[in-house]
């Protein structure tokens, strides 16, 4: 009897699995489309894709409320899509079109919609996110801030200034560290001394670490953390050990092939798909594909954004 209840508890509804899968496949296909359009010269500037890291975005953001605040970084497409599913606005933004979410002003790494904000400089948004949490605390709302950073961000001094302040002032902020083991091309072993937990402990911050391969486990873990951050109005740092299958931006991937292969076999998307009927996967994949293709076509027909119409 006890065994059965445990089994039931462990089982997530098919609906949730379907939702997570759709979001993950949407992000994966979107990023693949971005890389394709990039090679065709149809996008401006550079771009930082999150292929392999989709589970982090959907697991964390799937636990948030509309009034919660999300602050992200240069690698933000997954977070943005998990939050908004606004494929059209993001695609048009990357293509510099007038229908872009920031009318082509921000591009890939500078997005804003509702309570979602990103910026392109490493660490720049860390104190800004703390300020947002302080504002919500002072206003007496129970909104929380979720800040996404990477392992490489820990090279920035302002991160440590902020860890000190969020602990001192007990701000309702969850810092999600996506440790993808590389700061652009430099492996973590060459740019990161000590440990994540040591850093958290030094500032008196609650923290934890989790592997990224199982999106359901991730989602449950973050449900608990977010509940605590909200209820206790206090900070938390959670490190997700993850891996990006694509390069940092473009043409800067010098990682060993075997290493990438090793991580691809632990692909969280594949793991989730093993738990789902093939027909359903194909259906969701097709839905996402159509949505992205339509967004590209529509964006291509939009005029380029220019200063005259929106200064």
């Amino acid at each position: 009897m006890k065994l059965i209840s445990k089994e039931i508890k462990k089982t997530v509804s098919d609906e949730l699995r379907e939702k997570l899968h759709y979001q993950m496949i949407l992000i994966r296909l979107f990023e693949e489309q971005v890389l394709e359009l990039f090679s065709q010269g149809l996008l401006f500037g550079t771009t930082h894709c999150c292929i392999g890291q989709e589970a982090n975005a959907v697991a964390v953001i799937g636990n948030l409320r509309e009034d919660d605040i999300i602050v992200s970084n240069h690698r933000c497409h997954g977070h943005y899509l998990a939050r908004t599913e606004d494929v059209q606005g993001l695609m048009a933004e990357l293509m510099g079109r007038s229908g872009g979410v920031c009318s082509g002003r921000g591009g890939s790494q500078h997005l804003c919609k509702g309570n979602f904000y990103t910026n392109g400089v490493q660490g720049n948004m860390v104190p800004v996110a703390a300020g947002m949490a302080l504002a919500e605390k002072k206003k007496g709302t129970d909104s929380i801030v979720v800040l996404f950073i990477g392992d490489g961000t820990f090279g920035q001094g302002v991160v440590y200034e902020t860890l000190n302040m969020i602990s001192l002032w007990q701000l309702p902020i969850l810092i999600v560290v996506e440790n993808n083991r590389y700061a652009q091309t430099t492996p973590i072993t060459m740019n990161f001394a000590g440990t994540f937990s040591g850093r958290a402990e030094a500032f008196g911050l609650a923290s934890g670490e989790i592997e990224a391969d199982d999106v359901i486990r991730l989602k449950n873990r973050f449900a608990d953390i977010i509940k605590t951050v909200r209820k206790q109005n206090c900070p938390h740092i959670e490190v997700i050990h993850t891996y990006r299958f694509c390069s940092h931006s473009k043409g800067d991937d010098y990682r060993p092939r075997e290493e990438i292969k090793f991580w691809r076999e632990k692909d969280p998307l594949k793991k989730l798909e093993k738990q789902m009927p093939v027909e359903l996967q194909l259906k969701l994949r097709e839905q996402a594909k159509v949505k992205i293709e339509q967004a590209v076509t529509k964006a291509e027909n939009m005029p380029f954004a220019n200063l005259n119409e929106n200064s």
Partner: protein, 339 residues
């Protein structure tokens, strides 16, 4: 009223009228009340909205920016303006970008107060006039009241009205000094006063002149701490050489309030710009360029500029005086251009 009291009262008024106004800074709590006492009494009156911070200038600038994005009106005190270099990324790549970069979706009403300037013997890293480093940052407004402005009123209007980041530059030399407000005859000391309101409406420029001449011999343009030196020079030049100087003192440093400046230039046909900052690539360079583009045909001589020498500011007051512009330097430069 003293300059520091004027600013302090403005902060009291702002915080009592508007619950969205917060103050952040290092050592701002009573009984100390901030390094220059501008924040005195505030933490006692508004304990929940005055936040003393660690020594983390970049961090607190970012925190204030985040608060501003979320609907509050934070005022940050940077203890010495020299430390703005620590805040540079937060100002340049953060606060000043968000409003425009996010397609005007978010206002960012953050006001960064910073005392600037030398002549107190604080040496190379506590005496500079660094706002010129930020002149070519889009999205930033720079305001600097002189002692001829109602400093508190300017601060009040700034915090009340802005939707984008403002660097509010205070003069540490003026803190203990009395504000020079016009008397009933619209005179300050011996000077006739005119208040010029440019497009900004809330950041007036002050015009000072010893005679109400149709055309002054020279237009002298200064801001902030240079204003007192300018009046000293203008007084001496008139008494000893009968040279009539119109002094223009903008409170708006960026963008330049050119509409307050060009009419005087058109009449005097001679311009001297003096600044406390390093002369090289300074505020005066941009101003001279704009004046020459607009009034080249009416100028008799090229626009003259003086500013600090291109070396760090020494601690020794004797050497400090040699590095920074003095009233005599302004007089010499004016005599040269008038001759």
């Amino acid at each position: 009223m003293r300059y520091v009291v004027s600013l302090n009262r403005a902060l009291h008024q702002l915080m009592s009228e508007d619950e969205r106004v917060y103050l952040l800074g290092e050592d701002v709590l009573d009984p100390y009340g901030g390094a220059f006492k501008v924040t005195k009494g505030l933490s006692t009156a508004f304990p929940n909205r005055v936040i003393t911070t660690p020594i983390s200038e970049a961090g607190i600038t970012g925190v204030a920016t985040g608060m501003a994005i979320r609907g509050l009106r934070p005022v940050v005190e940077i203890m010495f303006g020299d430390f703005l270099t620590l805040c540079a990324d937060q100002i340049v790549n953060g606060a000043c970008k968000f409003h425009w970069m996010y397609d005007n979706q978010v206002p960012v009403p953050v006001v960064i107060r910073a005392p600037m300037g030398g002549r107190r013997g604080y040496g190379p890293t506590h005496s500079q006039t660094l706002e010129s480093l930020f002149l070519n940052v889009p999205g930033l407004t720079i305001v600097a009241p002189s002692c001829f402005h109602n400093a508190g009123r300017l601060l009040y209007d700034t915090v009340q009205n802005t939707d984008t980041p403002v660097l509010f530059v205070e003069s540490k030399l003026f803190y203990p000094k009395q504000l020079r407000v016009p008397d009933g005859n619209n005179r300050i000391d011996h000077f006739f006063v005119k208040t010029l309101t440019n497009h900004s409406r809330i950041f007036p420029s002050i015009s000072l002149s010893l005679v109400e001449a149709e055309a002054p011999d020279v237009t002298l343009i200064v801001y902030g701490a240079m204003a007192l030196l300018a009046t000293k020079a203008a007084f001496n030049l008139f008494m000893e050489h009968e040279i009539v100087v119109e002094i223009l003192i903008p409170s708006l440093v960026k963008p330049l309030p050119v509409s307050d400046i060009l009419p005087s230039v058109h009449r005097s046909k001679r311009v001297i710009i003096a600044e406390e900052s390093v002369c090289y690539s300074g505020w005066g360079a941009e101003l001279a360029s704009q004046i020459q583009q607009a009034e080249f045909d009416s100028l008799i001589k090229p626009v003259g500029r003086i500013g600090a020498k291109d070396i760090p500011i020494p601690s020794s007051r004797i050497m400090e005086d040699q590095v920074l512009v003095q009233a005599e330097d302004i007089e010499e430069e004016i005599k040269r251009i008038v001759s």
